[in-house]
């Protein structure tokens, strides 16, 4: 007997929460707000993902990981994973849990809901991004470019640690 659609949908949600971003393994694709659409029918499990940065080299790896995770829970349903670009992925799609996990991982989300302040233009010289280690806003951006296209480099004057930021988009 076929597993009911609603039960599969719940399993798919749980499975997606377990697929990490290979560049930021502390966060799942769900935490980063990459899941745009999830549709479970009698025949198929379809997921539309938004890439964070268009040129993200991890894109195809993430697509493959998501498909593999879905096959584990989809039973005999077809699994279809697509990348779409409408709407554009933006930083405010990162969930509250995703933000906390980013901070724990040592990456500061630029947009800080706690203070309600969005960091905007001029982009590259922004300072005041809260330090993920000590919370101080006595910080400077050292470079708008980092180990991946989505990250920036900062220095905290309070706890004297370097840290990375997640580029606002």
């Amino acid at each position: 007997m076929r597993t009911e659609t609603s039960a599969v949908e719940e399993r798919v949600r749980v499975a997606l929460e377990g697929v990490p971003d290979p560049e930021i393994p502390a966060c799942s694709v769900t935490d980063l707000g990459m899941v745009e659409r999830l549709d479970v029918t009698d025949d198929a499990v379809e997921v539309d993902l938004l890439p964070t940065f268009v040129g993200c080299p991890a894109r195809d790896i993430i697509g493959g990981d998501v498909a593999a995770a879905l096959r584990d829970v989809a039973g005999d349903r077809d699994v279809r994973v697509r990348f779409v670009h409408d709407p554009p992925w933006t930083t405010d799609r990162i969930t509250e849990r995703g933000r906390a996990r980013l901070r724990d991982f040592g990456i500061a989300p630029h947009w800080d809901r706690a203070t309600g302040s969005a960091v905007t233009v001029p982009l590259m010289n922004v300072s005041g991004v809260p330090c993920p280690f000590c919370g101080s806003t006595e910080t400077v951006m050292e470079s708008g470019w980092g180990p991946t296209p989505c990250r920036t480099q900062h220095w905290c004057r309070a706890c004297r640690n370097p840290f990375e930021g997640f580029k606002e988009k």
Partner: protein
């Protein structure tokens, strides 16, 4: 490749610009003046090549070729990027001058394409622009730094601007089938209108930095001389671009394009070298995945 659907000519012009300049950016990896710029140009290149991939995905049903084949499986004369994008990086002054002129032009054309009637393109452009603003910001910060810098920095930046200016104008060369694109709202403004907007912006910023003599120099030389790949000046009509003049307090272009540049597949020896390197693996091992 026949450019039958004019939307294909548009997609390839933008995608090929991004791919080829992205490749030039990537050549700074390991060689930039310091580590942060090494990372910056590596990331700029990665972004641009990613944007090209997205646009090739949109082109796939029109071209009947997948993104990898479009990126790496065409003959050099089938690429539609502007010649500016294929030029070697030369020095830091030229690299920044070109990045500034290119990313300002990219901003102008992408702002127009956000309103395209080609809905998939408009959506793709919206997400691309969220990343391109970082590129423009990078170029503007270096512009300020070099323009205000020690004499040698300012001079080499100005020489870079001079070398790049004519070929930057050719980013706005009229596309094959452009009238249909404009009439259908696919391209919401003609390339000539986009050129006027770009030149107005660039002219004003160069004036603020008292570097607008670069435009005067271009005006004097336009249509008569063409910089070659080695940076020397030779006579020849290989790339005819409009002149520039200052009129009513604003820099404007005068004259028309000959229409024989990159958008029609005309490239230089610089591109042959780049193409040979860029496609070497693809040609040596057809169908390879990596």
């Amino acid at each position: 490749m026949p450019d039958q659907d004019p939307r294909l000519a548009l997609l390839l012009s933008v995608a090929d610009d991004e791919l080829i300049l992205g490749h030039r950016h990537s050549e700074w990896t390991g060689w930039a003046p310091y580590l942060e710029e090494d990372l910056a140009f590596s990331s700029l290149g990665q972004d641009e090549i990613g944007h090209a991939r997205l646009l090739y995905e949109l082109a796939e049903p029109l071209a009947g070729k997948d993104p990898d084949t479009l990126a790496l499986g065409r003959r050099p004369e089938e690429y539609r990027h502007a010649i500016l994008c294929e030029r070697p990086n030369r020095d830091w002054g030229y690299t920044i001058a070109r990045q500034y002129l290119y990313d300002t032009a990219d901003d102008v054309r992408l702002a127009a394409l956000e309103d395209s009637s080609f809905a998939e393109l408009a959506a793709a452009v919206k997400t691309i622009r969220l990343e391109e603003r970082y590129h423009l910001d990078h170029a503007r910060q270096w512009f300020s730094r070099l323009a205000a810098g020690p004499v040698q920095a300012r001079q080499r930046f100005a020489e870079g601007l001079e070398a790049a200016m004519g070929e930057a104008m050719a980013l706005f060369e009229t596309l094959p089938g452009e009238k249909v694109l404009v009439d259908d709202g696919v391209l919401p403004a003609s390339n000539e209108e986009l050129l006027a907007e770009w030149l107005g912006r660039v002219g004003q910023q160069l004036e603020e930095a008292t570097l607008d003599w670069v435009l005067t120099e271009h005006a004097r030389a336009a249509g008569e001389m063409v910089p070659t790949s080695s940076g020397e000046i030779e006579e020849g009509p290989s790339l005819s671009v409009p002149g520039i003049e200052r009129s009513d307090g604003k820099w404007v272009h005068v004259g028309e394009f000959a229409g024989a540049g990159g958008r029609r597949g005309k490239h230089t020896d610089d591109f042959t070298e780049l193409w040979e390197e860029m496609t070497s693996l693809y040609r040596a091992v057809p169908g390879a995945t990596w």
